[in-house]
Symmetry: C2
Subunit: 211 residues, 2 copies
């Protein structure tokens, strides 16, 4: 069994665990500094009245992201991969064991900052979303098509800087739709929270009573 | 022989080839959209009167970067890795065979946009530099120490956006120096060219008659 097949098998096991415990889960992918942690924080802030949430943050090193997410009052675990450039289903499977799954409704996983490798290693979450930042320039979508193929949602973040960067967000959106016609695309400012309600909607995480 | 050792062996072979042909070489690393292509273009623009330059651009797909670099009038080859998240010494070794090495003084290699994996795969260049962008936020240096360990120069790019991002460039610089005390750090705006002369100096590429 090769590495990718082994990962896929473990990912299915993780998904099964989460389903048996009635827990929704989301894997958040994106390049370095695109806004993943900021988006996780904004989502927890808005969703914690309706969901019991835990977050898992993946980085080569440091607990910076877990510490920041903790500011929102949800339990957070930090995974340090050492050198591995992506989270994988094995490490998530282990990590799920140290969470009290009976007390959770939603798990948000922030993957390592990398727009390439994590795409090949599904974690067993129900959904994957990608965060790109306009500050990366105009080419990041067409240059990295594979990462979108498994994603249900794309957040085009740092919308406040699109003008100064000279980046056309609508063009990025159409390029993503060309790669994956059913992907939902939202524009966000994860610093201020603009667009985050739309993101929560696109993720099908809008709590029932607000519908 | 494991993958990393094989790569190291091929890297040494590349370095030997370049040395026998009296060609300087530079591997440019950095996350997606940090400014690598813009820096390559700025360097070619200033150095082409003094060096016969060729560039090699690495991406998963598209010829966007090679096309942009060609605008500077230097020969450029594009490597498409398909899915591999880093260039390696083997593909560079092959690529060097399709260049007329007798007619070159300097080869600039733009690695795939990724602040992690390329660090483990030296290409056999004389030097490696890293480009980070202030738009990635304040944590990218401390979170990715390994990529700096082999680098002689760090360009902290998009300096024009440091204020709006609230990122302290001097702090990033000191964090890099903590990881690698002899790294040279420059602040650049690769769009306008600000700081590029300092970068060329730091790379020891300043042509003799300007000294
Ligand atoms: N102007 C602006 N800044 C933002 C926005 N979103 C995030 N930032 C800033 O961008 C930087 C990086 O944001 P993070 O949320 O840490 O990004 P990340 O993807 O988690 O980064 P890594 O996990 O380190 O790869 C921080 O300084 C944020 O405050 C945005 O929409 N607009
Ligand atoms: N404001 C500003 N924009 C910059 C600067 N340097 C590059 N850019 C812009 O940032 C975007 C990305 O620049 P590139 O040079 O393509 O970055 P890259 O690292 O080659 O990107 P990839 O190869 O796709 O990973 C482009 O829109 C550039 O015009 C800078 O110093 N300031
Ligand atoms: Mg983060
Ligand atoms: Mg480029
Ligand atoms: Zn990888
Ligand atoms: Zn890799």
């Amino acid at each position: 069994e090769n590495v990718l097949d082994a990962n896929r098998r473990l990912a299915l096991a993780n998904l099964d665990t989460l389903n048996r415990k009635h827990i929704r889960s989301l894997d958040i992918l994106g390049s370095i500094g695109s806004g993943k942690t900021s988006i996780v924080k904004q989502c927890i802030r808005r969703l914690k009245k309706d969901y019991r949430i835990a977050a898992i943050a993946g980085d080569l090193t440091t607990t910076i992201d877990a510490d920041r997410i903790k500011e929102e009052g949800a339990p957070v675990l930090q995974i340090n991969t050492g050198g591995q450039c992506h989270l994988d289903a094995a490490v998530i499977g282990k990590t799920l064991k140290s969470l009290n799954l009976d007390d959770l409704d939603l798990i948000l996983i922030e993957n390592v900052g990398n727009l390439i490798c994590p795409g090949s290693f599904p974690l067993g979450t129900h959904d994957r979303m990608v965060v790109v930042s306009v500050t990366e320039g105009p080419y990041m979508v067409v240059k990295h098509p594979y990462i979108f193929m498994d994603a249900s949602v794309l957040a085009i973040n740092k919308m406040d800087l699109a003008e100064i960067m000279g980046v056309d967000m609508n063009r990025l959106k159409s390029e993503a739709l060309q790669i994956k016609p059913d992907i939902k695309v939202v524009f966000t400012n994860a610093k201020t929270g603009e667009g985050i309600e739309n993101l929560i909607d696109a993720l099908n995480l809008k709590p029932p009573r607000h519908a």
